[in-house]
Symmetry: C2
Subunit: 227 residues, 2 copies
């Protein structure tokens, strides 16, 4: 069974970037091999989990030697598609959009934001991080020109528009023949089944943190037994 014959579990995929980071740091220190136990220790995780997660990339560690760092980095990058460019349209150049535009970590992993859009007339035509802000209605035409020039669609649409504007942005994305959406707006987008969508919900992690804080408070206050 090759790794691509079955769909790898989402939590394993989610953990790969942290392994990649640890491995790159080790390589930068001049190290050439790493064991699952060592990676696990650095991240405060169980080595059995690390071993299972890394197995989905198809690279196997060898007893005593562990993984060859170069090989494993290459395998993770290839598995995630981070060894190739991912072209993207960014919709919304407010603070969050600009943060994504400036974040070096995404560029290092292949993200190339080729156009930026915003519905705010005050921003249209202005330059942000070297890119001219366009009006969303221009996207389908620009996307067609992109397809004609490169023989493929823009890979991804990034939505950082406010909740109320997000669906109209999503409609523009679909019209632009973009088949993957990275959605930061706190709404569920209505998209055709053929379009992949990954939602970033900051409120999810805020909820987990505030709930755990509350549990700790209750524990302290009541001396209740919590498992």
């Amino acid at each position: 069974m090759t790794p691509s014959n079955r769909i790898p579990p989402t939590p394993s995929i989610q953990r790969l970037p942290s392994y990649l980071r640890v491995l790159r740091e080790a390589r930068a220190r001049g190290e050439r091999s790493a064991s699952a136990a060592k990676i696990a220790e650095e991240l405060g995780r169980q080595s059995v989990q690390v071993r299972k997660d890394l197995a989905i990339t198809g690279v196997l560690g060898r007893p005593k030697v562990g993984f060859k760092i170069d090989e494993l980095i290459g395998a993770i990058q290839s598995f995630l598609g981070w060894d190739q460019k991912t072209t993207a349209y960014l919709f919304g150049v407010g603070n969050l959009g600009t943060a994504i535009l400036n974040y070096p970590g995404f560029v290092a992993n292949g993200l190339e934001i080729v156009e930026v859009f915003d519905a705010n007339p005050k921003l249209i035509g202005k330059k942000i991080c070297g890119r001219t802000v366009r009006a969303p209605y221009e996207a389908p035409t620009l996307a067609r020109e992109f397809r004609e020039a490169f023989g493929k669609s823009v890979d991804m649409g990034i939505v950082t528009a406010p909740g109320a504007a997000a669906q109209s942005v999503a409609d523009v994305l679909v019209e632009s023949e973009i088949h993957a959406v990275w959605n930061f707006a706190p709404v569920t987008l209505d998209l055709p089944k053929s379009v992949l969508c990954e939602n970033v919900k900051l409120s999810e992690s805020f909820a987990v943190l505030t709930r755990r804080m509350k549990e700790r408070e209750e524990e302290k206050a009541g001396g209740k037994k919590s498992r």
Copy 2:
């Protein structure tokens, strides 16, 4: 068994904010009750999951009637600690920090950022969203004054500093007697066990999306059977 007697599972907690959003929208439309099936449908989920998730708040729906919307909103807010203020120090007022400062969703759920800090000397003393930017070294003193004034520590530290600066910010947080960290920096912070930490890893969701895109490409290219 009351809800607080056992630790509710993280995925259930993560889904609560989306239920809250759907319920608030329903209330705004003038609705008074909602069924798990209806909530599930709006979010494209299974109603059995919605029912299980909502059960952790201690509120039970009634056959045919479903949940009373007001009661359920109150229960979710209380369960998450969103019915009370969560005071926070924000470290890093770059684009991401400013996005959090401006995001109305967090304020609506109790987040109150009481001080903002940045290590950049050009920003210190400047006003951002009505708050004067302070130097990080001032935090422990300000936090002590806060404790003296309000009889409790600042609840949360939000870290949006770059990776290389994040650990020194974390040390300042600990020195400021803050016991919960919401970390947006792409590093694992070294913190005492008594400090709660929730990491927001944008690269996790980027990885899931690019991997799913790659799987779809492979499917198209090779006509391979994928499950």
